[in-house]
Symmetry: none
Subunit: 166 residues, 2 copies
DNA sequence: TCTCCTGACCTTCTTTGACTATCAAGAGTA
DNA sequence: TACTCTTGATAGTCAAAGAAGGTCAGGAGA
């Protein structure tokens, strides 16, 4: 059953493959229920979180969101392939966990110049992470960390868009 | 996460949708009886209150009034404000110097729903001010203040960009 | 060692029911 | 007639239970 190239796959790999198959048929995103999936594979619900956090991160080209409470669910979105490598480089190398105002502004401009994102989107990012926005008394270390998070998540949000809706 | 009709909605979402459909047919306001609605959906009457208080607040673009006693009823009114008016209200009053994550997210969605800004722009704002972005150890007071600054500046940036309804 | 997997405990959102507050209309009374 | 009083029909509030998903430490394997 769970075989690949003659080797037994791990449960996590089986679940990951299952999810990827659901996402592979033209679907950009799917919604599923953690408990259902866990029941289907007869594993602990937290195993699903493990799979998601190790195999469906932005670095892998996916973004996940979720809702708790009755009727809650998990949504997994596949990022557009276009610029996938570059996006990964940006997130991991350029932005990382912390970036100062100057560097961030330069990167945002470059993104627009290279037409990776639109000028409007770049300007929105620049606004969100601008010195003016951060003109509030908190340690600059925290500012840089927060700036990186904002930048990172906004880029992911853009990458997540359905190309048809551009 | 965005609601998505289709899959499987919670009772509260179904009721909310039902009410919105009643309001969408040119009606600016409707009057209904709590018990009737509860009976129609076979739920506890207080569920109606839950729906109203979580999905029909002024931030959501609605105002509700009610009368108790025999022949009592609940009146739900859809707010009407032009884009410019609404923007001014948001910048000067609603967002102000501080706004929490939940309210900010609702307001950002509302902006798109009223077509004051595009869905993409709304999503970028929502991302920038999301709980995920702010998942960093700083006092929530500071988070709310920073969130307000980001929200305000992004809105201004968008408004400056396309002066469509001024 | 590193990855996988689980279970105990936590947070968030929904649903329900018991109890409370209010109103309108009819009954009773001066 | 005018003024209570009573009663039934509504709606509101709140706390607890229910229904998801999240986190984390630690054991189990490879």
């Amino acid at each position: 059953m769970d075989e690949k190239a003659g080797v037994w796959m791990r449960l996590s790999d089986t679940i990951a493959q299952f999810i990827k198959e659901m996402l592979s048929q033209d679907e950009l995103e799917i919604e599923l229920q953690r408990n259902d999936l866990a029941a289907y594979f007869q594993c602990a619900p937290s195993q699903i979180n493990y799979v998601l956090s190790t195999r469906f991160t932005p670095d892998h080209g996916y973004v996940t969101e979720s809702r708790r409470g009755g009727g809650g669910c998990i949504r997994i979105t596949r990022l557009r392939k276009t610029g996938g490598e570059y996006l990964r480089y940006l997130l991991e190398e350029r932005i990382g966990e912390s970036i100062d105002e100057n560097a961030a502004d330069i990167v945002a401009r470059q993104l627009a110049e290279r037409q990776v994102i639109s000028v409007n989107d770049a300007n929105l990012i620049r606004t969100a992470i601008s010195a003016q926005t951060f003109a509030i008394p908190i340690p600059s270390q925290l500012k840089d960390a927060l700036r990186a998070r904002i930048f990172r998540n906004m880029l992911l949000s853009i990458a997540k868009r359905d190309p048809q809706e551009d």
